[in-house]
Symmetry: C2
Subunit: 447 residues, 2 copies
């Protein structure tokens, strides 16, 4: 699919045994970790401790004479160096990546988020995945217009300034492309979590509640059943959204993670439709039409429909069901030695919040409850972690989320039984990462 | 101080009256907004509506023939254009800014966050303020070492890899320089909120709990009273932190807002000390020493002490007390016309969470409770908003936070009475923005 181990930290090393939480050590002892292995891990730790702190021995090799690194002995850089800051040059390999061969052009394509290298619940805006239908555009905000028409009393055209001056709301929500994890419907050889699940983000969005806008232009609630959202890019992306969603928690957003939207994310205006697949979060939003029936446009009739085993299609399948994935250790990484690892990943649900995440290291036979990193928010990514001691044996890592509605993320076999393997969209099956005796991690499909 | 109106959206325009929330309209009517003014606002709105949606009339001027903007009719840019994304070129004026004349060199200086242009509770990493003592450095993470020594059983040296493999925690916290709002102790003419309050951020931090590290190296709790944190840059910044803080919620952090720390923020390791002034969040962290008494180093004896009216100094004043500020409308902006405005700002407390924010438009005589944008988190920035109709009269805008301990942010006069005007640090007084009849907003000090 591409380089399987692109990031600097693809090699994972176990932590020393002394850092394993005490309760986990007891659990391992009870299961009979042998004395020899304990000794080996301790030895590795003692050896690491022998290293001196950030210093190198002076010429001549006398270990008692050390020189400090240059960053400790020189004048650093000015605060005026980067009026808008950048990551360290040592992190230049942590980038969005295209999946070569996945699409025929670079404009109607995808660049995936490097989930394996990220922390916490927020996605850095610079690493937010991209999915465009005719490339991205950098719109002049002074010339952009946004119109609401259709079943409303006063069809209205807004400038960006008009929108900016209205009552604003900020909320954190995940955004996931409906086609995320698409290749896992088949017999995928997608190597890394960047390519299996990297069309996912968690951001803070700021904008005007769509319900407020619709109310003020005089929506005809006796007839309105849907809205159509339309983008200003060359693809004129159009999506039907049911009126319940539109009046619930949608935003006409201009802000993302504290600043104006990035061009790739729809600058200057984007529709935020919490819990719903990304294609409906129409970028470069130029129009909302209120209607009385679904519009059956191209991207909701020939695309973004789910082909079922009987040959029929599920249409308007908007909600992203509960899903989770382990981001580390994950495909393409390697565990260099046995010992303690912090398993970590993300969980989310388009129907509410994350109630519980469980992790299995034996392909789903036994489960342990993971620790949740708060705050746990509605329709937002949630970070989970779990202490694990790898003893050098093959392992099958899985995570399983239960959301606030009680829904439990399905195993792949169970999902295929209902939906078949011919779909592209809405694959929320449990992901399995296989660890072999050499510590190599790859993507494997059970059942 | 510099250009007083640097950002593109320095000119604010009122929203049409039809967008004013109904309850606010009633309140205004009760106070006697006159019919003539109502008519004027409606007229302005109707005129704005006449604009067509993102289109320009064709050559010849026939208003029925329009051409779409070029971004709607051309092929956009590839997903491979920016492997690490950037803001729109139309936002290039939203940057960190130095305050000319504030410091003698650009390395021991400050670059402020443009709070007046930001939304929500998160600060974009690229706009996070900088405060360095000998410039910033871009450390090679493979060569960096972090040591814990002093009153511990096993003095230990860690590589970055050692830290990365340990149990991790992600939490959102504000970070404020103790010298934020420093010039307001005197008769300041600082024009904008970027310079008055722009040494403030809200971020998600990821790292290893310091308590876990101290426990595992065998801290001697019978003797330990403080820790000393030391940075690896040329200034060798050192700060004493009391043991209660160190064992509470501190992190040895490597992640900020989902990715690795930026170099200006301490890459690859920074101490996170929630609620405490920024100088103690030691960047480029290379050492923590456990001790039995404060160390009285340069940056806690000759600097970062509060000179009191009696000539004595408050020392080790770590906690950032509850504080808030209106970020829009704020100094340097201009209200172009009367009508609806969404007053917005940030509130935070080093002792807990934000319980309530009130806003006054008459210099503190009357207060209305602002709306809080959740989630409300411990020791984290909280966004507030309040609907306001400006009727063209002079106004004095203030915000006042009450935190979860019941502490109420003081008026400037009350704070000066206790602390005098000779201090540099820990100014958490209520900020006043004055609006004149022309709609111009400036910084004014009452009392």
């Amino acid at each position: 699919m591409t380089d399987s181990n692109p990031e600097p930290r693809g090699q994972l090393q176990a932590a020393p045994e002394s850092f394993i939480p005490a309760d986990l050590v007891s659990a391992i002892s009870a299961k009979g970790i042998n004395a020899e292995r304990r000794g080996l891990i301790k030895g590795a730790f003692a050896s690491a401790l022998a290293t001196m702190a950030g210093v190198t021995t002076a010429a001549g090799g006398d270990p008692n004479i050390v020189t400090l690194p240059e960053w400790s002995t020189t004048l650093g850089k000015s605060v005026a160096t980067h009026p808008y800051g950048q990551p360290s040059r040592y992190e230049s390999n942590i980038i969005r990546r295209q999946s070569p061969g996945l699409t025929q052009t670079d404009q109607a394509s995808v660049a995936f988020t490097p989930l394996q290298s990220l922390f916490g619940m927020m996605t850095p805006s610079g690493l937010h995945f991209e999915r465009h239908h005719q490339g991205w555009v950098d719109i002049d905000p002074r010339r952009h217009r946004f119109m609401i028409n259709g079943l409303v009393k006063t069809p209205t055209v807004f400038t960006l300034e008009d929108i900016l001056r209205l009552p604003s709301v900020s909320r954190m929500h995940f955004l996931e492309c409906g086609a995320n994890t698409a290749l896992e419907w088949g017999n995928s050889a997608v190597p890394t979590v960047q390519y299996t699940h990297g069309m996912l983000s968690g951001s803070e969005w700021t904008g005007v509640p769509l319900s407020l806008l619709l109310e003020r232009v005089g929506i005809d609630l006796s007839k309105a059943k849907v809205i159509l959202a339309e983008g200003a890019d060359g693809s004129s992306m159009t999506r039907t959204i049911n009126i319940a969603n539109a009046l619930d928690d949608c935003l006409v957003a201009y802000g993302q993670n504290g600043e104006m939207l990035r061009p790739e994310q729809g600058y200057p205006l984007r529709l935020v439709v919490p819990g719903v697949q990304g294609v409906s979060w129409v970028k470069w939003l130029r129009r909302i039409e209120v209607g009385d029936a679904p519009y059956a446009t191209k991207d909701e009739s020939s695309h973004y429909v789910d082909l079922m085993p009987d040959g029929l299609q599920r249409q308007y399948t908007a909600i992203q069901e509960a899903k989770s994935v382990i981001t580390s250790p994950s495909g393409g990484q390697r565990l260099k030695n046995s010992g303690y690892y912090c398993i970590t990943g993300l969980a989310w649900s388009g129907r509410g919040s994350v109630k519980k995440v469980e992790v299995s290291v034996d392909g789903g036979r036994n489960w342990r409850e993971a620790q949740i990193q708060g705050p746990v928010l509605q329709k937002m990514t949630t970070r989970f972690t779990l202490d694990w001691v790898w003893r050098g044996e093959p392992a099958l890592l899985q995570s399983r989320v239960t959301d606030s509605t009680g829904y439990v993320q399905p195993q792949r076999a169970a999902l295929l039984e209902v939906r078949g393997a011919r779909s592209i969209y809405h694959n929320n099956a449990i992901q399995t990462w296989r660890v072999n005796r050499a510590g190599e991690v790859d993507n494997v499909q059970l059942g």
